[in-house]
Amino acid sequence: MKMGLKINGEFKEFDVDPSTTLLDLLREAGYMSVRRACDTGTCGVCTVLMDGKPVLSCAILALSADGHEITTVEGLKDDEDFQRLLDLFLSEGVDQCGYCNPGFLITAYAMKRELKNPTDEEIKMYLVGNLCRCSGYVGQMRALKKYLGVEE
Protein backbone atom coordinates (compact mmCIF):
# COMPACT_ATOMS: atom_id res chain seq x y z
CA MET A 1 0.00 0.00 0.00
CA LYS A 2 1.18 3.51 -0.79
CA MET A 3 1.82 5.89 2.07
CA GLY A 4 3.61 9.13 2.85
CA LEU A 5 5.62 10.20 5.85
CA LYS A 6 7.44 13.36 6.74
CA ILE A 7 10.70 12.13 8.20
CA ASN A 8 13.07 14.69 9.67
CA GLY A 9 11.34 17.42 7.72
CA GLU A 10 11.47 15.64 4.38
CA PHE A 11 8.35 14.11 2.81
CA LYS A 12 8.89 10.58 1.55
CA GLU A 13 6.65 8.04 -0.12
CA PHE A 14 6.70 4.32 0.55
CA ASP A 15 5.00 1.21 -0.70
CA VAL A 16 4.57 -1.12 2.26
CA ASP A 17 2.99 -4.41 3.24
CA PRO A 18 0.15 -3.71 5.74
CA SER A 19 1.97 -5.70 8.44
CA THR A 20 5.09 -3.50 8.31
CA THR A 21 5.89 -1.65 11.52
CA LEU A 22 7.21 1.88 11.60
CA LEU A 23 10.48 0.47 12.95
CA ASP A 24 10.85 -1.82 9.91
CA LEU A 25 10.11 1.04 7.55
CA LEU A 26 12.58 3.44 9.16
CA ARG A 27 15.43 0.95 9.30
CA GLU A 28 14.87 -0.20 5.72
CA ALA A 29 14.88 3.47 4.70
CA GLY A 30 18.31 3.88 6.31
CA TYR A 31 17.50 5.56 9.62
CA MET A 32 19.87 3.35 11.57
CA SER A 33 19.69 5.32 14.83
CA VAL A 34 16.29 3.67 15.29
CA ARG A 35 17.16 0.31 16.78
CA ARG A 36 15.50 -3.00 17.39
CA ALA A 37 15.90 -4.97 20.60
CA CYS A 38 12.93 -6.33 22.55
CA ASP A 39 10.39 -5.78 19.77
CA THR A 40 7.64 -5.88 22.40
CA GLY A 41 7.31 -2.21 23.32
CA THR A 42 9.40 -2.49 26.45
CA CYS A 43 13.04 -1.43 26.00
CA GLY A 44 12.69 1.96 24.26
CA VAL A 45 15.62 1.67 21.83
CA CYS A 46 13.22 2.17 18.90
CA THR A 47 11.88 5.48 20.28
CA VAL A 48 11.21 8.22 17.73
CA LEU A 49 9.16 11.39 17.89
CA MET A 50 5.79 11.24 16.17
CA ASP A 51 4.27 14.71 15.87
CA GLY A 52 6.71 15.76 18.58
CA LYS A 53 5.85 13.06 21.10
CA PRO A 54 8.03 10.06 21.94
CA VAL A 55 6.58 6.77 20.70
CA LEU A 56 7.78 3.20 20.21
CA SER A 57 8.27 2.62 16.50
CA CYS A 58 8.16 -1.16 17.02
CA ALA A 59 4.60 -0.85 18.33
CA ILE A 60 3.16 1.29 15.54
CA LEU A 61 2.06 0.09 12.15
CA ALA A 62 3.78 2.02 9.37
CA LEU A 63 0.38 2.68 7.79
CA SER A 64 -0.92 4.16 11.05
CA ALA A 65 1.90 6.68 10.86
CA ASP A 66 0.86 7.69 7.33
CA GLY A 67 0.48 11.48 7.26
CA HIS A 68 2.31 12.04 10.53
CA GLU A 69 5.68 13.65 11.15
CA ILE A 70 8.54 11.49 12.38
CA THR A 71 11.78 12.73 13.93
CA THR A 72 14.80 10.52 14.54
CA VAL A 73 18.26 11.29 15.93
CA GLU A 74 19.44 11.91 12.36
CA GLY A 75 16.95 14.76 12.10
CA LEU A 76 18.23 16.49 15.22
CA LYS A 77 21.92 16.55 14.35
CA ASP A 78 21.82 20.29 13.56
CA ASP A 79 19.68 21.16 16.57
CA GLU A 80 21.84 23.10 19.06
CA ASP A 81 19.90 21.93 22.07
CA PHE A 82 20.17 18.31 20.97
CA GLN A 83 23.90 18.76 20.35
CA ARG A 84 24.23 20.00 23.91
CA LEU A 85 22.50 16.85 25.13
CA LEU A 86 24.90 14.72 23.06
CA ASP A 87 27.90 16.58 24.49
CA LEU A 88 26.62 16.02 28.03
CA PHE A 89 26.21 12.30 27.36
CA LEU A 90 29.86 12.23 26.28
CA SER A 91 31.28 14.43 29.02
CA GLU A 92 29.39 12.62 31.78
CA GLY A 93 30.56 9.23 30.57
CA VAL A 94 27.09 7.91 29.89
CA ASP A 95 28.20 5.68 27.04
CA GLN A 96 29.09 2.10 27.60
CA CYS A 97 27.90 -0.10 24.75
CA GLY A 98 25.79 2.82 23.48
CA TYR A 99 23.01 0.69 22.02
CA CYS A 100 20.29 2.38 24.09
CA ASN A 101 21.59 5.91 23.49
CA PRO A 102 19.42 7.01 20.54
CA GLY A 103 16.23 6.03 22.36
CA PHE A 104 17.41 7.69 25.54
CA LEU A 105 18.38 10.88 23.71
CA ILE A 106 15.07 11.17 21.90
CA THR A 107 13.07 10.61 25.10
CA ALA A 108 15.22 13.10 27.03
CA TYR A 109 14.80 15.68 24.27
CA ALA A 110 11.01 15.24 24.48
CA MET A 111 11.07 15.37 28.27
CA LYS A 112 12.68 18.81 28.24
CA ARG A 113 9.79 20.06 26.14
CA GLU A 114 7.12 18.47 28.29
CA LEU A 115 8.28 18.81 31.90
CA LYS A 116 9.34 22.02 33.59
CA ASN A 117 11.87 21.69 36.42
CA PRO A 118 11.23 17.98 36.93
CA THR A 119 12.17 16.28 40.18
CA ASP A 120 14.47 13.24 40.19
CA GLU A 121 11.39 11.07 40.56
CA GLU A 122 9.69 12.69 37.56
CA ILE A 123 12.82 12.25 35.43
CA LYS A 124 12.99 8.58 36.36
CA MET A 125 9.29 8.07 35.66
CA TYR A 126 9.59 9.73 32.25
CA LEU A 127 12.52 7.48 31.37
CA VAL A 128 11.10 4.26 32.77
CA GLY A 129 10.59 2.96 29.24
CA ASN A 130 14.24 3.33 28.25
CA LEU A 131 16.26 0.39 29.48
CA CYS A 132 20.04 0.37 29.73
CA ARG A 133 21.62 -2.96 30.57
CA CYS A 134 25.21 -1.67 30.95
CA SER A 135 24.90 1.17 33.40
CA GLY A 136 23.04 1.85 36.61
CA TYR A 137 21.56 5.01 35.07
CA VAL A 138 23.84 7.18 37.21
CA GLY A 139 25.62 8.76 34.25
CA GLN A 140 22.36 9.34 32.44
CA MET A 141 20.88 11.09 35.47
CA ARG A 142 23.95 13.30 35.82
CA ALA A 143 23.82 14.32 32.17
CA LEU A 144 20.07 14.80 32.16
CA LYS A 145 19.99 16.97 35.25
CA LYS A 146 22.51 19.29 33.64
CA TYR A 147 20.60 19.23 30.36
CA LEU A 148 17.30 19.99 32.09
CA GLY A 149 18.85 22.70 34.24
CA VAL A 150 17.92 20.90 37.42
CA GLU A 151 20.34 21.52 40.25
CA GLU A 152 22.15 18.59 41.83
Binding site: L56, I60, L61, N130
Partner: protein, 276 residues
Protein backbone atom coordinates in the same frame (compact mmCIF):
# COMPACT_ATOMS: atom_id res chain seq x y z
CA UNK B 1 3.52 -12.32 14.54
CA UNK B 2 0.60 -10.32 13.24
CA UNK B 3 -0.16 -10.65 9.54
CA UNK B 4 -2.49 -8.05 8.12
CA UNK B 5 -4.04 -8.57 4.70
CA UNK B 6 -5.67 -5.18 4.33
CA UNK B 7 -5.66 -1.86 6.21
CA UNK B 8 -8.26 0.89 5.91
CA UNK B 9 -8.97 4.27 7.46
CA UNK B 10 -12.71 4.85 7.13
CA UNK B 11 -14.01 8.41 6.98
CA UNK B 12 -17.20 7.84 8.94
CA UNK B 13 -18.48 5.62 11.73
CA UNK B 14 -21.06 4.22 9.33
CA UNK B 15 -18.31 3.11 6.97
CA UNK B 16 -16.25 1.68 9.81
CA UNK B 17 -19.20 -0.31 11.13
CA UNK B 18 -20.09 -1.58 7.68
CA UNK B 19 -16.53 -2.82 7.19
CA UNK B 20 -16.40 -4.36 10.66
CA UNK B 21 -19.59 -6.33 10.17
CA UNK B 22 -19.20 -7.27 6.52
CA UNK B 23 -15.67 -8.68 6.52
CA UNK B 24 -15.23 -11.87 8.52
CA UNK B 25 -12.37 -11.48 10.99
CA UNK B 26 -12.14 -7.70 10.56
CA UNK B 27 -10.74 -5.95 13.60
CA UNK B 28 -10.45 -2.40 14.81
CA UNK B 29 -7.00 -1.18 15.68
CA UNK B 30 -6.75 0.55 19.05
CA UNK B 31 -3.17 1.50 19.66
CA UNK B 32 -1.82 -1.80 18.23
CA UNK B 33 0.50 -2.02 21.22
CA UNK B 34 -1.01 -5.23 22.59
CA UNK B 35 -2.53 -6.62 19.43
CA UNK B 36 0.90 -6.91 17.85
CA UNK B 37 2.13 -9.25 20.57
CA UNK B 38 -0.21 -11.99 19.42
CA UNK B 39 0.04 -14.43 16.55
CA UNK B 40 -2.88 -13.70 14.33
CA UNK B 41 -3.86 -13.20 10.73
CA UNK B 42 -6.15 -10.21 10.32
CA UNK B 43 -7.99 -9.99 7.00
CA UNK B 44 -8.94 -6.36 7.51
CA UNK B 45 -7.61 -3.89 10.04
CA UNK B 46 -9.74 -0.80 10.57
CA UNK B 47 -8.01 2.34 11.84
CA UNK B 48 -10.37 4.94 13.35
CA UNK B 49 -7.87 7.81 13.50
CA UNK B 50 -9.60 9.86 10.78
CA UNK B 51 -12.99 9.87 12.51
CA UNK B 52 -12.37 12.87 14.78
CA UNK B 53 -12.66 10.81 17.96
CA UNK B 54 -9.50 12.27 19.51
CA UNK B 55 -11.35 14.78 21.69
CA UNK B 56 -11.61 15.42 25.40
CA UNK B 57 -14.48 17.78 26.14
CA UNK B 58 -16.28 18.99 29.18
CA UNK B 59 -20.05 19.23 29.08
CA UNK B 60 -22.39 20.42 31.79
CA UNK B 61 -22.77 17.00 33.40
CA UNK B 62 -20.11 14.85 31.75
CA UNK B 63 -16.52 14.75 30.66
CA UNK B 64 -16.40 12.98 27.32
CA UNK B 65 -13.26 11.24 26.06
CA UNK B 66 -13.16 10.11 22.43
CA UNK B 67 -12.14 6.54 21.65
CA UNK B 68 -8.93 7.41 19.80
CA UNK B 69 -7.57 9.67 22.55
CA UNK B 70 -4.17 8.43 23.65
CA UNK B 71 -3.61 7.55 27.30
CA UNK B 72 -0.84 10.17 27.26
CA UNK B 73 -3.39 12.82 26.30
CA UNK B 74 -5.59 11.76 29.22
CA UNK B 75 -2.56 12.21 31.46
CA UNK B 76 -1.83 15.71 30.10
CA UNK B 77 -5.41 16.96 29.72
CA UNK B 78 -6.24 20.03 31.82
CA UNK B 79 -9.91 19.00 31.78
CA UNK B 80 -9.09 15.59 33.24
CA UNK B 81 -6.61 17.02 35.72
CA UNK B 82 -9.05 19.47 37.24
CA UNK B 83 -11.66 16.84 38.14
CA UNK B 84 -11.50 14.28 40.96
CA UNK B 85 -8.29 15.93 42.15
CA UNK B 86 -6.53 14.70 39.01
CA UNK B 87 -7.27 11.07 39.93
CA UNK B 88 -7.47 9.75 36.37
CA UNK B 89 -4.36 11.59 35.15
CA UNK B 90 -2.39 10.34 38.11
CA UNK B 91 -3.47 6.75 37.54
CA UNK B 92 -2.59 6.85 33.86
CA UNK B 93 0.88 8.17 34.70
CA UNK B 94 1.65 4.81 36.31
CA UNK B 95 0.83 2.82 33.18
CA UNK B 96 3.87 1.34 31.43
CA UNK B 97 5.97 4.03 29.70
CA UNK B 98 5.59 7.54 28.27
CA UNK B 99 6.19 6.14 24.78
CA UNK B 100 3.52 3.49 25.12
CA UNK B 101 1.00 5.93 26.58
CA UNK B 102 1.50 8.08 23.49
CA UNK B 103 0.30 5.16 21.36
CA UNK B 104 -2.26 3.23 23.44
CA UNK B 105 -5.80 4.55 23.08
CA UNK B 106 -8.70 4.83 25.45
CA UNK B 107 -10.92 2.83 23.10
CA UNK B 108 -8.32 0.13 22.53
CA UNK B 109 -7.96 -0.36 26.27
CA UNK B 110 -11.62 -0.29 27.29
CA UNK B 111 -13.19 -2.13 24.36
CA UNK B 112 -10.63 -4.92 24.60
CA UNK B 113 -11.57 -5.36 28.29
CA UNK B 114 -7.95 -6.03 29.22
CA UNK B 115 -7.78 -7.76 32.60
CA UNK B 116 -4.46 -6.12 33.47
CA UNK B 117 -5.78 -2.62 32.82
CA UNK B 118 -5.27 -0.03 35.56
CA UNK B 119 -7.29 2.45 33.51
CA UNK B 120 -10.49 0.36 33.50
CA UNK B 121 -10.30 -0.19 37.25
CA UNK B 122 -10.01 3.57 37.76
CA UNK B 123 -12.88 4.37 35.41
CA UNK B 124 -15.14 1.93 37.26
CA UNK B 125 -15.08 4.00 40.44
CA UNK B 126 -16.12 7.09 38.54
CA UNK B 127 -19.61 6.94 37.12
CA UNK B 128 -18.59 6.09 33.59
CA UNK B 129 -20.68 5.20 30.57
CA UNK B 130 -19.46 3.83 27.29
CA UNK B 131 -20.99 5.21 24.12
CA UNK B 132 -21.16 2.58 21.41
CA UNK B 133 -22.04 3.20 17.78
CA UNK B 134 -24.69 0.47 17.55
CA UNK B 135 -25.62 -0.38 21.15
CA UNK B 136 -25.82 3.20 22.39
CA UNK B 137 -24.84 4.21 25.91
CA UNK B 138 -24.41 1.77 28.79
CA UNK B 139 -22.71 1.78 32.14
CA UNK B 140 -19.09 0.69 31.96
CA UNK B 141 -19.69 -2.08 34.49
CA UNK B 142 -22.54 -3.45 32.33
CA UNK B 143 -20.42 -3.23 29.19
CA UNK B 144 -17.58 -5.13 30.83
CA UNK B 145 -19.94 -7.97 31.74
CA UNK B 146 -21.70 -7.93 28.36
CA UNK B 147 -20.83 -9.88 25.26
CA UNK B 148 -20.89 -6.82 23.01
CA UNK B 149 -18.13 -7.30 20.47
CA UNK B 150 -19.17 -6.31 16.94
CA UNK B 151 -19.54 -2.66 17.71
CA UNK B 152 -17.42 0.48 17.85
CA UNK B 153 -16.63 2.41 21.00
CA UNK B 154 -17.20 6.07 20.24
CA UNK B 155 -16.42 7.66 23.59
CA UNK B 156 -16.46 7.44 27.36
CA UNK B 157 -18.71 9.72 29.37
CA UNK B 158 -17.68 10.36 32.95
CA UNK B 159 -20.21 11.97 35.25
CA UNK B 160 -19.03 15.23 36.74
CA UNK B 161 -19.54 15.10 40.47
CA UNK B 162 -17.63 15.88 43.62
CA UNK B 163 -16.00 12.54 44.23
CA UNK B 164 -12.82 11.54 45.99
CA UNK B 165 -11.01 8.65 44.37
CA UNK B 166 -7.84 6.68 45.11
CA UNK B 167 -5.90 4.04 43.23
CA UNK B 168 -3.53 1.40 44.60
CA UNK B 169 -1.61 -1.40 42.95
CA UNK B 170 0.82 -4.19 43.73
CA UNK B 171 3.55 -4.91 41.20
CA UNK B 172 6.76 -6.87 41.10
CA UNK B 173 8.42 -3.70 39.83
CA UNK B 174 7.14 -0.28 38.93
CA UNK B 175 7.65 -0.99 35.22
CA UNK B 176 5.31 -3.95 35.01
CA UNK B 177 1.64 -4.80 34.94
CA UNK B 178 -0.16 -4.84 38.26
CA UNK B 179 -0.50 -8.16 40.06
CA UNK B 180 -3.63 -6.63 41.53
CA UNK B 181 -5.07 -3.14 41.31
CA UNK B 182 -7.71 -1.43 43.37
CA UNK B 183 -9.62 1.81 43.02
CA UNK B 184 -12.08 3.26 45.49
CA UNK B 185 -14.16 6.40 45.51
CA UNK B 186 -16.77 8.23 47.52
CA UNK B 187 -19.09 11.02 46.56
CA UNK B 188 -18.94 14.13 48.70
CA UNK B 189 -22.32 15.71 49.38
CA UNK B 190 -22.76 18.48 51.93
CA UNK B 191 -19.49 17.41 53.53
CA UNK B 192 -20.65 13.80 53.88
CA UNK B 193 -19.34 10.77 52.08
CA UNK B 194 -21.61 8.34 50.23
CA UNK B 195 -22.00 6.61 46.90
CA UNK B 196 -19.02 4.40 47.67
CA UNK B 197 -17.46 2.50 44.79
CA UNK B 198 -14.75 -0.16 45.01
CA UNK B 199 -13.23 -1.82 41.93
CA UNK B 200 -10.75 -4.67 41.87
CA UNK B 201 -8.76 -5.42 38.72
CA UNK B 202 -5.91 -7.55 37.42
CA UNK B 203 -7.34 -10.48 39.39
CA UNK B 204 -6.13 -11.32 36.63
CA UNK B 205 -9.62 -11.13 35.14
CA UNK B 206 -11.29 -7.92 34.06
CA UNK B 207 -11.95 -5.38 36.81
CA UNK B 208 -15.28 -5.44 38.56
CA UNK B 209 -17.09 -3.72 41.35
CA UNK B 210 -17.07 -5.16 44.85
CA UNK B 211 -20.79 -4.61 45.32
CA UNK B 212 -21.22 -6.22 48.75
CA UNK B 213 -18.44 -4.10 50.20
CA UNK B 214 -19.93 -1.02 48.55
CA UNK B 215 -23.36 -1.76 50.02
CA UNK B 216 -21.83 -2.34 53.44
CA UNK B 217 -20.15 1.07 53.39
CA UNK B 218 -23.33 2.69 52.14
CA UNK B 219 -25.19 1.35 55.17
CA UNK B 220 -22.49 1.83 57.75
CA UNK B 221 -20.47 4.84 56.60
CA UNK B 222 -16.72 5.18 56.52
CA UNK B 223 -14.73 4.66 59.70
CA UNK B 224 -11.62 2.69 60.64
CA UNK B 225 -13.85 -0.20 61.75
CA UNK B 226 -16.04 -0.26 58.64
CA UNK B 227 -13.01 0.08 56.38
CA UNK B 228 -11.57 -3.08 57.85
CA UNK B 229 -14.83 -5.00 57.36
CA UNK B 230 -15.42 -3.64 53.85
CA UNK B 231 -11.87 -4.55 52.84
CA UNK B 232 -12.41 -8.14 53.94
CA UNK B 233 -15.78 -8.28 52.20
CA UNK B 234 -14.26 -7.08 48.94
CA UNK B 235 -11.80 -9.97 48.93
CA UNK B 236 -14.48 -12.51 49.88
CA UNK B 237 -16.81 -11.60 47.04
CA UNK B 238 -14.16 -11.58 44.28
CA UNK B 239 -12.84 -14.50 42.27
CA UNK B 240 -9.07 -14.52 41.87
CA UNK B 241 -6.98 -16.44 39.40
CA UNK B 242 -3.40 -17.50 38.89
CA UNK B 243 -1.07 -16.32 36.17
CA UNK B 244 2.63 -15.62 35.66
CA UNK B 245 2.52 -12.58 37.99
CA UNK B 246 0.88 -14.10 41.01
CA UNK B 247 -1.34 -16.87 42.23
CA UNK B 248 -4.95 -16.66 43.31
CA UNK B 249 -4.17 -17.08 46.99
CA UNK B 250 -1.66 -14.23 46.96
CA UNK B 251 -4.11 -11.95 45.16
CA UNK B 252 -6.83 -12.78 47.68
CA UNK B 253 -4.48 -11.91 50.53
CA UNK B 254 -3.31 -8.56 49.19
CA UNK B 255 -6.77 -7.45 48.05
CA UNK B 256 -8.05 -6.32 51.48
CA UNK B 257 -4.72 -4.63 52.19
CA UNK B 258 -4.93 -2.47 49.06
CA UNK B 259 -8.63 -1.71 49.60
CA UNK B 260 -7.98 -0.75 53.21
CA UNK B 261 -5.13 1.57 52.28
CA UNK B 262 -7.14 3.26 49.55
CA UNK B 263 -10.19 3.75 51.79
CA UNK B 264 -7.96 5.03 54.58
CA UNK B 265 -6.59 7.61 52.15
CA UNK B 266 -10.11 8.84 51.50
CA UNK B 267 -11.01 8.87 55.17
CA UNK B 268 -7.89 10.77 56.19
CA UNK B 269 -8.54 13.41 53.54
CA UNK B 270 -12.14 13.86 54.52
CA UNK B 271 -11.78 15.53 57.89
CA UNK B 272 -13.65 12.88 59.79
CA UNK B 273 -15.59 11.41 56.88
CA UNK B 274 -19.11 10.09 57.18
CA UNK B 275 -19.68 8.88 60.71
CA UNK B 276 -23.38 8.27 60.24
Amino acid sequence: MVLIDRYVRPKSLEEAYELLTSVKGARIIGGFTFMRLGTVNIPLLIDLQDLGLDFIREGEDFIEIGATVKLGDVERSEVIQKHFDGFLSKTVKYIWSVQLRNIATVGGTVFARFGFSDFITSLLVLNTKVKLYRNGEMLLEDFLESRVSRDILVSLKIEKEERKAKFRFMRNSFYDFSILNVAVSAKVENGRLGGFRIAIGARPGIAKLARKAMEYLEKNGLSPETISKASDLSAEEMEFGTDIRGDAEYRKMICPVLVRRALNDILSESSGGNRS
